[in-house]
Symmetry: C2
Amino acid sequence: MTFEYSKRVPHNDNDVVGEILEAAANPAVISFAGGLPAPELFPVEGMKKAADTVFDNEGQTALQYSNAVGETVLREEIVKLMTDRGVDTSVEHVGVTTGSEQSIDLLAKMFVNPGDTVIVEEPTYLCTLDVFRSYGANIVGVEMDENGMRMDKFEEALKAHPEAKLVYTIPTFQNPTGRTMSVDRRKKFVELANKYDLLVMEDDPYGAIRYEGEELPPLKKFDTQDRVVYMSTFSKILAPGMRLGWIVCNVDVLSNFVVMKQSADLHSDNLSQHIIATFLKQNDVYEHIKKISDLYRHRFELMLDYIKKEFPADAKHSHPEGGMFIWIELPGEVDTMELFKTCVEHNVAFVPGDAFYPNKPKMGTFRLNFSNVDDETIEVGMKRLGTALKEALEATK
Amino acid sequence: MTFEYSKRVPHNDNDVVGEILEAAANPAVISFAGGLPAPELFPVEGMKKAADTVFDNEGQTALQYSNAVGETVLREEIVKLMTDRGVDTSVEHVGVTTGSEQSIDLLAKMFVNPGDTVIVEEPTYLCTLDVFRSYGANIVGVEMDENGMRMDKFEEALKAHPEAKLVYTIPTFQNPTGRTMSVDRRKKFVELANKYDLLVMEDDPYGAIRYEGEELPPLKKFDTQDRVVYMSTFSKILAPGMRLGWIVCNVDVLSNFVVMKQSADLHSDNLSQHIIATFLKQNDVYEHIKKISDLYRHRFELMLDYIKKEFPADAKHSHPEGGMFIWIELPGEVDTMELFKTCVEHNVAFVPGDAFYPNKPKMGTFRLNFSNVDDETIEVGMKRLGTALKEALEATK
């Protein structure tokens, strides 16, 4: 039969991500394209012990149906994590999800009617753009600099789009740039959200993985009007395979979120919820996070060394203080997809910047990941990349 | 702030399910309203052993990100289960989901544009109705009898609605009726789907739990045009808390399904996928299913005895050969929600039939669950129910 898909199914005539994945799958290619945590740091033994405890003490409960908002034992642990992040909250504001992707999808589904205007940083997380597009959003990008979203440009966008309904931001160690919004801008951001009556989706998957500088409070801390929906995940601090994240928000928003979640998957994996709650009770999660930060700092610094040594001198790079990504901007008018092809010919890959722009992409930009590559891979890959970049820039002269 | 939700958020002015949950939560009330498997049969020890094996042999893999279509080790086990159910298939037709709720939601999302006509059995699974409604479907119900959906009524509906695009059915031990579609009707059903070019969503969560009669092949077995999307789940044969189900379908449908799933939650819980795949290798799942069937047969027969002894003589009941539910139809014009209130006053609850009808409900109908209630609960609860029903019927005379 011929299948008639709904309008919600995307037509990928120009499948950038597919091309990248295909290139990165070639074993000869060193890929800095991924966004995966370092698996050698997954707390396998700790999770095994936690799982055994769950099976021994509450096996039947963990294997039975649960409720859409999430298991109370886990929500209590999340409240503690939030307190440590400087946000005062309580269990009735916390909902468990199967990770940030689901948080983003369900929030977009529950707030975005076709044609609604949403504001994002430019560039931003590509899957969020896909989700907003799937619900028919009109996406407006706001320029960033090294201190995150520019507040003058944000207000300009709000004046030009008084109909704007929500703003999505990754304030800390942003994907793809690794940049962090300064404290002053965080305060200003919430002020503007109040003034223009915006719902705020604050996505904070990386914030806990800091290896330099001082911790900054989430936007949620400055939220006096309950308009910030804070999202985070266990994917980067424990294990992404277990697919668990959370949101912290207004209780009315949460109760509607729960209705949407029930219709999407009834509830999140209950066994994994109990295992992670038990792991958090049995272990000092910050000891574990320190191991992650230490390794990522090392890999980041190594990659930075090679950027300085091997890249064309006028290539700009972000200087993240945490997270998993470095952002590169090349001088001049470089066609990023052509550049990508040249690099793949040199057996090295990244994510071309184009994928992260809601509208017109900035030329000659790309994202490098350093969390899931060992020293030798960084060394060999970055040398290849340096050679390929110089060759490509030479060709444009 | 005032939150402006999208049109997709349901407005529950008449929250039948909420009322039921509230009534059933009172500890004095014996509830036959649930749809939960018996937790005392969850294979806790077997899952613990499987989990230990996973942590010991492939811990890092199980805790890392995976792919949206599902882990190959699990898809291979699903192919074996499908072969046992009489369906010849292969890994490239199998996708893993977080359970049937997600299968239904994503399929509806990818096939139903607002205003599209979909056909369902009447009554049918209430969450499916909610999902279809959330995507703006026009839902047409087709009458059933003890042998499942009536084929004369199905063809009538297809003639009246030539625009109909898909049909959703639970052919075996249907929710809420417990009824099973006969083999002749299964063949006729696929014939009509071919003739009227319908996509078929075959939902089969209960089919493996048979305690009487002979096994029947799924509709998928008779599908020569690859138009049946078969859905099943581990929730009823292993453990619902682990949130894993699957679909078997045409490869083009699967590749689009995977795009939708990626946007919804990236992929299903990877740890649970590895644990269940390992459990299936380490154990004879049919030995386990036999234990479930034996217990459910016993509870079904006990409940049936009390229906015969305690219910008004002219109350009709379905006679399921498997699954978890009995369907009751009372004579005359009984207001089901009033009846429900009377029963709750007698400290016993069920799901009123109204919730399962896409349009006008049949009066005086309700669903009883027997899988998660022990003998004493059945005895006490069914006596209360008998008394309440007689009182309610008396009042309508």
